[in-house]
């Protein structure tokens, strides 16, 4: 399992822009927001948590169709399906690798982008906490979506359509926690629900993803 994780991480690093691409997209989106809504800092401060969460979600979505597609093309997935390692575990590891290469950098970079959107100082901690709790769910749901669409030619657009409604609860609780944090309100409830979603998806979706993958590769 660790070998698989290391392999995925190494591939992401060497393929050029595994870490960078999602992050660059996140930065671009954040920079474009003030141009589109205007530079008033009060307005920016009030929408900053939501925009940063949306940016993280879209950056995550952007990298999903590479999650399994390359392995499908070069036959690695066939090996994984027949390997002694349970496919569920392999997919959980793939989700983890995806989170380390896209989710984690976003969590780290979010405060810097918060500055660009003049996020109130109380908001930084809760923005980081909510992203750290919520992005694993995004990666795991994405792994499931990728497993569903991996055999389909040009499945990328379909993947976004399938995954976006599944992202709704995570986005609502994550952005709600960040927004409440920025306004100095209590954040426990949305954070707990967000953590619950993440743990639930980590526990259950590898099974759904593995079932989908076994049906594609028969």
């Amino acid at each position: 399992m660790i070998a698989l994780l290391v392999r995925d991480l190494r591939l992401a690093l060497r393929a050029g822009g595994g870490f960078g691409l999602g992050l660059a997209f996140f930065l671009i989106l954040t920079v474009l927001v003030p141009f589109s809504v205007g530079p008033q800092s009060a307005l920016l401060a009030s929408i900053a948590p939501g925009v940063l969460w949306l940016g993280a979600l879209l950056a995550c979505l952007l990298s999903l169709d590479r999650l399994l597609a390359l392995d499908f093309e070069d036959g690695t997935l066939d090996v994984l399906v027949t390997a002694p390692l349970p496919l569920e575990a392999a997919l959980a590891i793939k989700g983890l690798a995806h989170w380390i290469t896209t989710g984690l950098p976003l969590v780290v970079a979010a405060p810097a982008l918060g500055v660009l959107l003049s996020l109130p100082p109380e908001g930084y901690l809760w923005l980081v906490v909510s992203l750290a709790l919520g992005t694993p769910a995004l990666s795991m749901i994405g792994t499931f979506g990728a497993a569903l669409t991996v055999g389909i030619k040009r499945g990328g657009l379909l993947l976004s359509l399938l995954v976006l409604p599944l992202y709704v609860p995570t986005l609502i609780f994550g952005a709600e926690a960040a927004r409440r944090g920025a306004q100095g309100m209590a954040v426990e409830t949305p954070l707990l629900l967000l953590a619950g979603i993440s743990l639930g998806t980590i526990a259950l979706l590898p099974f759904a993803a593995a079932a989908a993958l076994r049906m594609t590769i028969r």
């Binding site: 499931f144 569903l148 669409t149 055999g151 389909i152 499945g155 379909l158 359509l161 399938l162 976006l164 409604p165 599944l166 709704v168 609860p169 609502i172 609780f173 709600e176 409830t189 949305p190 629900l193 979603i197 979706l205 759904a208 079932a211 989908a212 049906m215 594609t216 028969r218």
Partner: protein
Amino acid sequence: MSVWEYANPVRFLALSAKVQPYAWGLAALGIATGLIWGFFGTPDDFRQGSTVKIIYLHVPAAWIAINAWIMMLLASLVWLVRRHHVSALAAKAAAPVGLVMTVIGLLTGAIWGQPMWGTWWAWDPRLTSFLILFLFYLGYIALWAAIEDPDTAADLTSILCLVGSVFALMSRYAVFFWSQGLHQGASLSLDKEENISNVFWLPLVISIAGFTLLFLALVLYRTGTEISLRRARALSTRMDRRA
């Protein structure tokens, strides 16, 4: 004699052919009675005026939109557990009907909401969860359309339906948490206190029954079409192999 006998396409089609005329007829009767009685036979609401009458379309459409997904979930489970093709095809056949009902629910709601709430759309929990349901239907139909092999398509859409159901439920509670409601409570429920007054109740129930029968008739009809398509496909692959 068990219900599983109708998993055989031939038996299913025979039963479907017997049931369909009644379903179409009763559906037409129910919808016509419900709508005509509802539109012309009931008084205007004292606050909402005549706009209240859109509920005879709005509530049944919303009812079918939700229950079509539940029916698809059950059919998907039957397919995954017992591998009956008719079940998978029935789920496929129900999806576009559910989608159209969702759209009718959203549109009639918007038409009613404009004069009543002063807005076409509000990010209210019920409205928002319906919009998400609409997206789920779109994704489900798109996944069916995207996969060549019918058995793989049935498998993958079934899994999507299962996972989607969990997330649809979760989204519903998430949006309740996220925003305050503008939509009124349920028009019909087992709790008598919540029900609308008796004058409106009977035509509404008749209309709902009519829509449910219409849904049944449409799903039977469309499932028959899907079975024919499967047979045509099987024949043409056999021809290709021979050629």
